[in-house]
Structures are given as structure tokens and as C-alpha cells.
């Protein structure tokens, strides 16, 4: 019996020891609740896991691709279901529109030591979010295929089309171009890239009145249609995940892909050695002669719910500050993103995002009504890519759908 007790005690000590090793002192004095909602990809998972290490907190997280469907309602409640939403520059707008996140100026003044000023997202002079990583779409290519056919790494979509024609003619690949062209959000994002690259402006200056039915809009759509001719015929159902799968299967040699997703393509998992060892990244592509890269810059960051109590807000702020502290960086997490964290050393996989930043790409528009336009684009441009209607008609439909929605929402009279 005595031995048994001793063994039990030893076990308890071991368990307590592990718990102690995991808990980190994040400076949280009053116990608080930390509940995170956010998108699901490796970098965000790492941040949430790091934040969970803090002691003196009650932690929970809900990371899902459908985060935007739940974050507003979850933060509107009082007390809120989520004390923090991890968002990007497009999705913070919905939270701002609904007024569910709080300014962080007081928390930054009190606890903000160690956060770089360039990480602070200020809107109208108030700090609303803390960014921790940069992201963008850029070219990913198969070095072996291009080399074998003597093709230089493309820097423009015109060169991509020429290269695709060469690859198809060589018989190596039937559909050498990839792209997240799934109708809906992804397709709209590709149009946003292409339209910016063609030098277009989405709105009449100083208003919420849309203006995409113009020469730049038509040029953007025509380029997308030409590219889609070199894609798997199912391209309208391929989101980023399906496009990555096509890449790993070795069916694709050129694509415009998210920096945050290239790490998965370069690791040994899920693809043949000839695919993953030859997967290389390059900078953004251009279209036409505008000189603006046909892509957008993104940051991911975290916010604090307006309805969170003072203790919960402080605990959330401190836990997430710990989540993005230099302690996060190790061999595994280093390549997951372009971190805005001290001590981060870029890996080859992150080069694409850096090249995009250096190429002076523009950030994704942070306008309160831009989400409505993004939805209208996603719903209407597939008709053109399928050859059902002209580019002008598709763009007219986009404008009409946006205008009706913007009137309903009160952005237009």
C-alpha cells in the first residue's frame, strides 16, 4: 500500500511538472477568459496554441474556414462568445461595420511593450488590431518543367500564357495552369487581383458608386478567360485547397497561389519528389503595362471584442501578445508565414511574399462596402468564363447586383 501511494504521488508530481512546463507567465494578474475565433491554416493554429500556454486564463479556440459566418454574432453577444477574432485586412471591415471590436490604445499603452509599432493597425487614429503576419498571392512554378522546355520564369500573365502554350504543345501537361477560380469568394479575389493589375479603380472617386464596367474590367476578364483555357475544365469548382491538390498531383506547372499555402506544397508530404523538390516561388505577376502587380497585400492580425470585460480583454491581449512573441518561432513555425516578429528569418518558401511587398503591390481595399462588391463579383463573373455572356454584360450584372445590395445596406441612396 505504501508503495502504491508513493507511485501515485510520483505520478501526480510528473503531471504537475508537465503542466508547469506548459504554463507560461504572460503577465496576466487577474484571471480572464480567452476565446479565439479565426481562420484555419498552420500559422494561425500555431499562434492560438502558443496563446493557450499562458497561465491564469480559461482558454478556448474555434478555428474554421467558416469563421466569418460566426465571428460577428459571437462577438455581438454580451458577454461575447469570442473575446478575440483573428482576421485579415478584408475581414476586419465586417467587424468594424458592426462595431464589435474595441480600440486597443489603452491596452497597448499598458501592456504593449515588445509589439513593433508597424504591427499596429490604426484606423482613424485608433489602434484596432495587432498584425502578426503578411500574406499575398504570387507565382508558384515547377522549375524542372520550365527548365526542360527552356522557358524563363514568367513575370507577367502574358508570359504565363505563352509558357502554358509551350508546355501543352510539348505534351508534358494538358492543363499546365492552376488557379483558385472556384465561383464565389475565390473567383472574385482573382478578379480583384487582375483588375488592380490592369490599373482599374473600383469606385468613382470619393463615393461608394461602383465602376468596374470599363476597359480595365474587360481586360481583366479576358485575361482570366485566356488563363482558364489552360486550366483543368473543372476550374470553377477549384478553391485554394483543390488547386493545391492539383499541384501536388503534378498536373500543374504555373499558378498564382497564397504565400501561406506554399509551405505545404514544398514539404515531402502528399506529392512525388519530382514535384515538391521542383516547386519554387517567385514574385507577383503583372498584366498589361500598368506597372502595378496583379495581386494584393494582406495582413493577418488579432482584435479584442468590445463587449469583453476589462479582465477578459486584458487577459486576451496578453495571451495573444504571448502567442505572437519571439517564443513562437521554432524550426516548425518559422516557414509557416512571413512573421512580423523579431527573430524571424525568411525561409525560401516565404520569398514570394517579400517579392510582392518589394514590387509595391497594393493592400486589399479596406472599404466598408467592398465586401458587397466582392460578393457580387463572385456571383456574376462565372457566366462570362463559361461563355454564356459577354464581358460587358457580366460586368454590368456585377454593378447592378452590387448597387441593389449597397442600396439595401444604406451605402447608396
Amino acid at each position: 500500500m505504501h508503495h502504491f501511494k508513493k507511485a501515485l504521488l510520483a505520478g501526480v508530481v510528473v503531471i504537475a511538472g508537465t503542466a508547469f512546463a506548459q504554463a507560461a507567465d504572460c503577465g496576466i494578474t487577474a484571471k480572464g477568459r480567452v476565446s479565439i475565433v479565426g481562420n484555419e491554416f498552420p500559422a494561425i493554429k500555431s499562434v492560438a496554441a502558443k496563446a493557450a500556454e499562458c497561465d491564469n486564463i480559461e482558454f478556448s479556440s474555434n478555428l474554421t474556414a467558416d469563421h466569418q459566418k460566426i465571428n460577428v454574432d459571437g462577438m455581438k453577444a454580451n458577454p461575447p462568445a469570442f473575446t478575440s477574432a483573428i482576421i485579415a485586412n478584408s475581414s476586419i471591415v465586417a467587424l468594424m461595420n458592426e462595431d464589435v471590436i474595441r480600440p486597443l490604445d489603452d491596452l497597448v499603452a499598458k501592456y504593449g511593450e515588445g509589439i513593433n509599432p508597424q504591427q499596429l493597425i490604426t484606423i482613424d487614429g485608433k489602434i484596432m488590431a495587432v498584425a502578426f503576419m503578411a500574406n499575398s498571392q504570387h507565382l508558384v512554378y515547377r522549375a524542372d518543367v520550365l527548365e526542360e522546355l527552356g522557358i524563363a520564369v514568367p513575370t507577367s500573365y502574358e508570359e504565363v500564357v505563352a509558357a502554358a502554350e509551350k508546355i501543352r504543345a510539348s505534351g508534358k501537361m494538358q492543363n499546365p495552369v492552376g488557379g483558385a477560380y472556384a465561383s464565389g469568394w475565390n473567383l472574385a479575389q482573382e478578379f480583384v487581383n487582375m483588375y488592380i493589375g490592369a490599373g482599374g479603380e473600383f469606385y468613382k472617386p470619393g463615393t461608394a458608386e461602383v465602376s468596374v464596367n470599363n476597359a480595365q474590367g474587360v481586360a481583366a476578364l479576358e485575361t482570366m478567360k485566356t488563363l482558364s483555357g489552360y486550366m483543368n475544365p473543372d476550374f470553377l469548382t477549384h478553391d485554394s485547397n483543390a488547386t493545391s491538390a492539383e499541384w501536388e498531383a503534378g498536373n500543374v506547372a504555373l499558378m498564382n497561389m497564397w504565400g501561406s499555402r506554399t509551405g505545404v506544397l514544398m514539404d515531402a508530404e502528399g506529392s512525388a519528389p519530382e514535384v515538391h523538390t521542383n516547386t519554387k516561388v517567385s514574385g507577383p505577376l503583372t498584366v498589361g503595362s500598368s506597372g502595378v502587380p496583379a495581386t494584393t497585400l494582406w495582413w493577418d492580425g488579432w482584435t479584442v471584442a468590445k463587449n469583453a470585460s476589462e479582465e477578459d480583454a486584458a487577459a486576451t491581449f496578453l495571451a495573444l501578445k504571448h502567442g505572437i512573441s519571439p517564443a513562437l518561432l521554432n524550426e516548425e513555425t518559422m516557414g509557416q508565414a512571413v512573421w512580423m516578429i523579431d527573430g524571424y528569418t525568411p525561409a525560401p518558401v516565404n520569398e514570394g511574399v517579400f517579392k510582392t511587398m518589394a514590387a509595391k503591390a497594393v493592400p486589399y481595399p479596406m472599404l466598408p462596402y467592398h465586401g458587397l462588391l466582392h460578393t457580387a463579383l463572385g456571383d456574376n463573373i462565372a457566366d462570362f468564363l463559361q461563355g454564356k455572356e459577354s464581358a460587358e454584360q457580366a460586368l454590368a450584372d456585377v454593378e447592378a447586383a452590387y448597387t441593389a445590395a449597397a442600396k439595401e445596406k444604406g451605402f447608396l441612396n
Binding site: 465586417a94 468594424m96 494538358q174 475544365p233 466598408p368 458587397l372 447586383a401 445596406k409 444604406g410
Partner: protein
């Protein structure tokens, strides 16, 4: 039953219906005639890792004041029902005056989201409802004539499509019909066209969705008909046999008339279900080719910026659509009962 005991018996469920069905419909109706206030937009400067940009944002204080005065938003009456994303009355008028002929007019109308979705939904309902019922009937007939020991397992397997969660069932089919999936490649081999893709063609996508609809809802018809077959009077069947009726004649003149009330009931339920077709569009990622009113509601609620009034208006239109579709069946049932009582 006495009126009082009947009332006491029905009261709880009537109350629950009032609370969980009628009240939400009223709330949706109210929401659909109100829209958010005119947004107060202020020009601001946004700063972040990529520098500062001039931008705009919603003035929250002004919005809060507006909401306090009128918490429901601004009253817009039927505006949302009539706007371009719903009934599109003025767009239809414009199409009528601009169209070069009747064909051109219809193609212009079908380009409007509501009518495009209605075209798919009605085709889907018209094709899937009868076919699923006919299939279910024949499965029931064949299972009914099986030897006893085989009935159990056969029933179980016939019910599988209904047991599998619609989203999962559709997703499995979605993978199978992929250009690189087993069914997709088989079709390519049969057609001799390596570029054939079910997901890239609108007519093929429609057919695929309808085949899925029939596959997933035939078991329901089967179960109901199978139960119905057990109640067919054996005496009548036997006398028909003695009179020399063939198997087909027995089905046509004895079994079918007996199952008519059941068929009406099932048609009611299936028309209602099929008109609200939703899951297959999501799982087959078919939104580029086929949309339904339910899909619009989902999209309005799931977009970056949610359109609550629009979703409410579409919900009301869906209810109206179901009511219109069901009216012939309901009227018929009403008449039948009237006749019986009189």
C-alpha cells in the same frame, strides 16, 4: 372526440407551432420591409504594416444614434422585394422594351438572379418529384415480391441513400464525378472525349443534381409505398387474379388506386422539399451553374457583409412559392375530404 378534449389534445402542439413557426415567419416578414439606416461614412486614414492609406469607415456614434431613434432600421416597404436581386420589376420592364424578340426577352429575364434560380428550382422540382416517386414505387413493388429472408437486408440497402447525411452523400458523389474520379473518367472513356467534365457544363451539372435528388429521395417514397402495399386488400387482389388479371393489370387497377391518397401526401412533402433544394448545390459547388432561392438565403447570410433584409425577403418569397406550388394539391385534398364528409 368531444370538442373540448380535442382542443386540450391539440393545444400544446398548436402553441409550439405558434411560437416556433408562426412567430418567426412574422419576424421575417417585418425584417423584409425594413433595411439598415443610411450609413454615415467618414473619411479616415488607415495605417498598418504596408503604410498608410486614405480610406473610409462607418461612423459608429452616428449609427448608434440612428438606431436608438428607429431600432428596426428605415422602413422601405416592398423595395427589397422589387429590387434587382429579387423580383426585379423595373429590370423586367426594361428588358421588355429593349428585347428584340420573345427569346431575347426570356434570356434577359433568366439572367436576373431570382428568375435564373426559379428556372432551376422549378425544373428540379418538376423532374425530381415524380421520378423519385416512380422509382420508389417500383423499388417497393420489387421488394414486396421478394422472399421473406431477403427482405430485411434489401430494405436496409435501399434506405442507405436516405440514411447518409445529404452533405456527405453529395460530397462522395462530387468526388466520384470529378474529371479524375471513377465516374468522371468512366464517362470520358464512354464518350471518347478526354476533356468531358460534368462540373464544367451547365446542362450536365443540372442532370447530375437531379440524379442526385432522385437517388437521395427515392428511398423516402419507397418506405411510404412499401408501408402502403401492406394495406392493399388481399381479397380484391385475389379476385382480380381469379378474373384473369395480369400482374400489370393488378398494379394498374387495384394497387395504384388504393395508393392514391398516399401519393398525394407524398407529393405535398416532396414538392415542398424539392422547392427548397439547397445541400446538393453547396456540396457539388454548383453555384456557377445552378442556384436556388435557399442558396441565395445562405449566401446573403454568409457573405463578408450580411444582407439580412434581403435574406428575409427571399425567405418570404420561398414561402409564397411553396404555397403556390402546393395549392393545386391542397385544393384537391380539400375537395376529397369535403366529398367524404358530405
Amino acid at each position: 372526440m368531444r370538442h373540448r378534449s380535442f382542443a386540450a389534445f391539440v393545444l400544446p402542439s398548436a402553441l409550439a407551432m405558434l411560437l416556433f413557426i408562426a412567430a418567426p415567419i412574422v419576424s421575417v416578414l417585418i425584417q423584409s420591409v425594413y433595411a439598415p439606416h443610411a450609413q454615415v461614412i467618414v473619411e479616415i486614414e488607415n495605417c498598418g504594416p504596408f503604410g498608410c492609406t486614405k480610406s473610409t469607415t462607418v461612423d459608429q456614434e452616428a449609427t448608434a444614434r440612428l438606431l436608438e431613434e428607429q431600432p428596426l432600421g428605415r422602413f422601405v416597404g416592398g423595395d427589397i422585394y422589387l429590387n434587382r436581386n429579387h423580383l426585379a420589376t423595373s429590370e423586367i420592364g426594361a428588358a421588355w422594351s429593349a428585347a428584340s424578340g420573345l427569346g431575347d426577352f426570356f434570356s434577359r429575364v433568366l439572367n436576373l438572379p431570382f428568375y435564373g434560380a426559379l428556372a432551376f428550382t422549378l425544373t428540379y422540382t418538376a423532374v425530381v418529384t415524380p421520378l423519385a416517386m416512380i422509382f420508389g414505387f417500383f423499388i417497393a413493388l420489387s421488394v414486396n415480391s421478394l422472399p421473406r429472408f431477403m427482405k430485411g437486408p434489401t430494405i436496409f440497402f435501399s434506405l442507405l441513400p436516405m440514411i447518409v447525411t445529404p452533405l456527405v452523400g453529395a460530397l462522395i458523389l462530387f468526388w466520384m464525378i470529378d474529371a479524375r474520379g471513377i465516374l468522371g473518367s468512366a464517362l470520358q472513356a464512354i464518350a471518347g472525349d478526354p476533356n468531358l467534365s460534368l462540373k464544367a457544363s451547365t446542362p450536365l451539372t443540372w442532370i447530375m443534381l437531379m440524379v442526385y435528388g432522385i437517388w437521395s429521395s427515392a428511398p423516402f417514397a419507397f418506405v411510404i409505398y412499401y408501408a402502403g402495399l401492406q394495406t392493399v386488400p388481399q381479397d380484391t387482389l385475389e379476385s382480380a387474379m381469379i378474373d384473369g388479371a395480369t400482374r400489370w393489370e393488378r398494379v394498374r387497377y387495384v394497387i395504384l388506386p388504393h395508393l392514391i391518397p398516399l401519393t398525394t401526401f407524398m407529393a405535398l412533402i416532396k414538392i415542398m422539399d424539392n422547392f427548397r433544394v439547397f445541400e446538393p448545390i453547396v456540396s457539388f459547388q454548383a453555384a456557377a451553374h445552378a442556384q436556388s432561392l435557399s442558396y441565395f438565403i445562405y449566401q446573403d447570410l454568409g457573405g463578408e457583409t450580411r444582407l439580412l433584409s434581403s435574406a428575409a425577403a427571399t425567405s418570404v418569397l420561398t414561402i409564397l412559392g411553396v404555397a403556390i406550388l402546393l395549392s393545386p394539391v391542397v385544393v384537391r385534398t380539400w375537395r376529397d375530404y369535403g366529398r367524404k364528409i358530405a
